[in-house]
Amino acid sequence: MERTRVSEALRTPSQPPPGGSIKKDDRYEPVIGLEIHVQLATATKMFCGCELSFGEPPNTRTCAVCLGLPGSLPVANARAVHFGLMIGLALGSELAPRSIFHRKNYFYPDLPKGYQISQYDEPLCRGGRLGEVRIHRVHLEEDAAKLIHVGSSGRIHGSEDSIVDFNRGGTPLAEIVTEPDLRSPEQAGEWLRLLRSTLRALGVSDVNMEEGSLRCDANISLRAAGGGRLGVKTELKNMNSFRFIERGIRAEMERQEQILRGGGEVVQETLHFDPASGAITSLRSKEEAHDYRYFPEPDLLPVAIDQQMIDAARADMSELPADRAQRYQRELGLSADSAQALSSRAALGDFFEAALAAGAPPAQREPAPPAQTLANWVAVELASRLEDGRGAGGDPSHSRVTPQALARLVAMVAAKRVSVGAARQVLDTLLAEGGDPEAIVQARGLAAIDGGEELAAVVAAALAANADAAQRVREGNAKAIGPIVGAVMRETRGRADGAEVSRLINEQLGIT
């Protein structure tokens, strides 16, 4: 579905190339692969005992090893290997019984040893799949330090001074490389969200793009729509939000298409997307590409994985978002949207399941709320209220609403004992003060008004007070009913059932 949309977007009118080798209705489709760097949430760095840094003063989380002092040696972090295995298992990768670290050699001030310890031709995990995207490999490596350029340019060229903060240097990274299976910026963004929720559910990373614990590069090329030979690819570096990734990929697609339609050739190079200006600039072309002189790191032993380590990794894995969404659809009959909303954030899903288990208290006359209704209340009503700052970082378990209370409230809604509008007010109260929804309804007089005499009288009064609107409704303008319903709701303080109010209005106006 995404495929069509992008192809449409690409069908922008443009000049046919000289020679007319591309027909007017020819379209391009993008071929996109991602490389994702995930900072692992270990206690200490990849190859030394320094604690990971979270904004401490510069160069306070460093030692001889992560500063690359003469004589120091790396020792691999077993916890990082454990997390790497969990990622591999989650992505269905093949876990290498033996993998090795390589040195990737190049000079830069953020790289204290003059080489990065990474993995090369024998990575920890190979292959796998997440959703519709195949995984090429997952490997472990160390992060570089942070360079700060003092001066007007903000870049290393033309800066007056460059200072290095080694706190980040040596932070463990898992690099996840996909096959080029993505076909649109939106699909890339969507898939990356799935990856992020998967990593979050594993608990192996903070997966915060703004803070850099999840970073994404994209390899992009264009080819004739529907298949054909792959074009020359470019690499778009380090986009630090989902929005920028989608915008960056789109901008690069447009740039490449312009080149191709102009009869030019795309040059293989590394590019930078500036989200502020939307501009794409070249970082380095292939001609100046580094020869990294990879060779096996002689200071480290091969990483040998045994069944015990795999079992330990598996034991630490909770249910993954994709599995949970499937379960919700299959076993509870939830809609795809609800299932995804509840599974992409484990905290919401957990709360939903607790509420579902609580059901309705036995003392109540109504049955347990239907799963889909409860899902809507958790994924929409509760989630949106938590988003706007009322709840504990979006985690409902840290709010004042208990799963039992929500289940009770939704059961009342389902039994029409409380209108949806009134129930929203009860939820606001629950979030602010906690408590029992039944008691809140009683205390505030929010119980639904049945469709009896009382409501009929309120409707009649509202019709009288809104004679103009009533006349328009009679004349067939269905939308004019709004102000009348509004008046009834005001009068009943939202306690009336909207559908019943509409029915009564139409009845009293003689419309059937």
Binding site: A64, N105, P109, L300
Partner: protein
Amino acid sequence: MSEPHELTAAQAVEAIAAGSLSAAELFDAYHARAAADRAAGEGGLNCFTWVAGEAPSRAGMRVGESRRPESFRKPDAFAGTALHGVPLAVKDLFCTEGAPSQSGSRILAGYQPPYTATVVARLRRAGTPLLAKTNQDEFAMGSSTENSAFGPTLNPWDRERVPGGSSGGSAAAVAAGLAPWALGTDTGGSIRQPAALCGIVGLKPTYGAVSRYGMIAFASSLDQAGPLTRDVTDAALLLGHMVGRDPCDATSLGFPHEILAPSAERLDGLRLGVPEELSGEGIEAGVLDAFAAALAGAEALGARIEPVRLPHAAHALSAYYVIAPAEASSNLARFDGVRYGLRAADAEELIDMYTRTRHDGFGAEVKRRIMLGTYVLSSGYYDAYYGRAQRVRTKIAEDFRAAFAHVDLLVTPTAPSVAFRLGEKTADPLSMYLNDFCTVPMSLAGIPAISIPCGLSEGLPVGLQLAGPAFSENRILDAAYALEQSLGFDGAHARV
């Protein structure tokens, strides 16, 4: 009683334990001798780059005022320790907090590390205070100690000759009686060859037996620390306090058994293999004569001498000069002027700063090996050079395994010649590299080997090398001890 410096380290340990000598007295005696060599400048042997008590910042300049380390000011600071305060000279490339650690290089001139190498810290805890840092070839690249930013060290047997290298400062200091014992490192022969050329004992342990943490790296898969001592007993004593697993060195291994004081008097039943490839062609006649005499001595002690083959040994030097420079080119990348050591002052921008710093900071041999190593790792050449060298290395290890199926130990001359003249080989790197051709195969295989003096040729010492399977140090030490007793080599000639 004899002068303190005439005692071997083990004898000094005993004398202090018995109360006939104080640790402070011993330290002062050695300190005076070491400081005198340092003060003599070009008139001395130039064994040291720093002597205890010097302000670290004055490294490479002149002798300071105070003498004893802080710990000596407390009475009985080393009482109760195993080594009773017998001081230790340490090769410059070991990181030692409070003392310069420069690896013989201008790029690290005056560099003071904030931590101490594991093996030095272990030995200090065992009771060996730091006496001095010793001169070496820059980053351990060389076989003559002429490639030092701090000038060449001279051979105490003949001051016109080199002491060997790269641990030449340590070897010369022990031979000259300026230190009771010393630490060196061996990558392709850097302990054994200078020990041979200076008439002392030098042991390269099994790779992984001694922690490399805090050793400024030359070639990580080959570097190994070891003792340079006056006799085999001292070597065993020092080694016993060096070995052991270090959590900071992933390649270190727990030594499977205790290192024992050697005591064998006979070699009955010991099968000694003489590899054809390392005991004939390319070796000086005088060295071969001393070697043959030593073999006869071993037979007289009951050993069986058997010829063995190491078919791939002829390729060892070629493989070594691919692998070691490759690792070195990467290990030395950190000397970039950004964080420590030399930084070129007037650089225009980053690349210029890197280039000038490394141009000014590294000597010719280091540059040669960085270029060689960079080349062999380059894309398109990796398989032809580095890949092939690693395969040769595997073959050599297999050669040794096959040989040790038939014999207990291997025996060869340590170096193809006696000490050569200063400057004799500096213009021809290849002839310098050939110095290591008897020692490099053991380094590539990671197996232990010792060099002991086995006689004189032209009045200069000749070394004999004994090598065994991984972790066979006790057997090697025992055989070396029995031979040492029967050969009766007298190294006192070299004492200053």
